[in-house]
């Protein structure tokens, strides 16, 4: 064996590729994100389709217990809750009278399974949860000036229950979270996993926004059946829009569509109705006096 005169010059680009690292990064990121979006959308649709197959009685067994949590003015709150339940039952009865072409969406949920509750809370809010439990906060009563405005909110929550949205959202949430953590937990970089799974979670929020618009549409139908018109349906949303004006560009990160978008849908219905019938006054029990409220 003889030695060479010197070491050979190492040719570049064989052991380490000369491709720009950003190119590889962008290709991977776009590919993985697209894959995740497709995965989440597919799972979301499947979970949504499966939700209506869950018998309502199963859902009822998951139902949380709603307690009133009142500090002071127990009597007023009791009267208000009774009035609220009365109004809600009226709306529920109207919802069952609506003529529906094709599948009757409300038939799966027994009307007597629905429960209505008034709770003491800091924020104007209303929600429907598993087992058909509809909850309205007392603060919300302050933001509406007519019964029609409050009825829209309650009808919206009844719509969520009748459309099986709580079980759909719960099922979808579990399936998507489990899948994302199973797929992304192995990426070896915890922050990357979190960021990618938040991307997946953002995608799944579009299902939630669709459900809100769907519930708004069904709520308008209930209102029209109950009052003969949908006047006043936009009251709560206008109040919320003034109080908490939100940026439209942030919508993709929200569970609810922007108030603007929802108001558009409601205004369209109000115009389509072409009936400016008089609004019904809020029942006296539901008018929460300022003095009853410490703030």
């Amino acid at each position: 064996m003889t030695l060479p005169k010197g070491n050979p010059k190492i040719p570049e680009g064989i052991n380490a590729s000369e491709e720009h690292p950003l190119k590889e990064f962008l290709q991977l990121l776009v590919g993985v994100l697209l894959g995740l979006v497709v995965l989440v959308v597919t799972l979301g649709f499947l979970a949504g389709a499966m939700a209506s197959l869950v018998p309502f009685s199963w859902e009822s067994s998951l139902s949380p217990v709603v307690a009133m949590h009142v500090d002071g003015q127990q009597g007023d709150m009791d009267a208000a809750e009774t009035a609220l339940i009365e109004l809600s039952q009226g709306l529920l009865a109207s919802s069952l009278e609506i003529d529906v072409q094709g599948d009757d969406i409300s038939s799966e949920v027994p009307p007597d399974a629905l429960g209505f509750h008034l709770i003491d809370a800091e924020f104007p809010n209303a929600f429907a949860t598993l087992g058909g439990q509809v909850v309205v906060t007392d603060e919300l009563l302050d933001t509406v000036s007519s019964e029609n405005g409050l009825a829209m909110v309650i009808a919206h929550e009844i719509a969520h229950v009748q459309l099986r949205h709580p079980i759909e959202a719960a099922g979808r949430g579990i399936v998507i979270q489990l899948t994302l953590s199973a797929v992304l937990g192995s990426s070896g970089n915890s922050m990357l996993g979190q960021v990618l799974s938040s991307g997946g979670a953002l995608t799944s929020l579009s299902f939630s926004r669709d459900m809100e618009l769907e519930a708004d549409a069904w709520a308008l139908a209930i209102l029209r059946q109950h009052y003969g018109h949908v006047g006043g349906a936009d009251e709560f949303f206008i109040a919320m829009d003034e109080e908490y004006s939100e940026s439209a560009w942030l919508e993709f990160a929200q569970t609810h569509p922007s108030t603007e978008k929802r108001l558009d849908q409601i205004r369209e219905a109000v115009i389509a109705d072409r009936r400016s019938a008089a609004l019904v006054e809020l029942p006296a029990a539901l008018v929460i006096e300022e003095s009853a409220d410490p703030e």
Partner: protein, 151 residues
């Protein structure tokens, strides 16, 4: 909102890792290529036996050791690569640098001993994980061989 903050922090770290990592890599490659020319005369081979005419030379162990850290950008690209498979080219350049730097340090040591050549070159590599958990934190490359000097 939380998600946006998380994405913000992530992109900031990513940009930081990319800008500094890329700068360090370029600078390192320039220096490697420069020094490879300087040490070109110190021939390094992997043969286990001394060449003809070197049997009377003095033999010394020489080694060159390097630890290079991964930057955040590289770990993210590798993390994404983990999901789909394929060449992790961002780590290939990292290890290429480490290997060549280790040989250069070995040659430098051999030069100081007055050696003419280094035979029986071998490499060892290991992962210095630090607190990177399952991921790669830094890589260590050790090059060692037998330096032959004129008696």
């Amino acid at each position: 909102m939380d998600a946006l903050i998380q994405w913000g922090i992530f992109l900031f770290l990513l940009a930081l890792g990319y800008i500094f990592g890329r700068r360090a890599e370029r600078k390192h490659y320039r220096s490697i290529i420069e020094r490879e020319d300087v040490f070109r005369h110190v021939v390094v081979v992997s043969s286990r036996f001394p060449p003809v005419g070197f049997s009377k030379h003095r033999a010394d162990l020489v080694c060159g050791n390097v630890v290079i850290s991964v930057d955040y950008f590289k770990t993210v690209v590798a993390g994404l690569r983990n999901l789909v498979g394929g060449n992790v080219s961002v780590y290939e350049s990292l290890l290429d640098r480490a290997r060549r730097e280790a040989v250069l340090r070995l040659q430098e040591q051999a030069t100081e001993l007055g050696a003419e050549t280094v035979i029986n070159l071998k490499f060892e590599t290991s992962r210095v994980s630090g607190n990177a958990g399952q991921a790669i934190g830094s890589v260590e490359v050790l090059a060692y061989g037998t330096a032959l000097s004129r008696p």
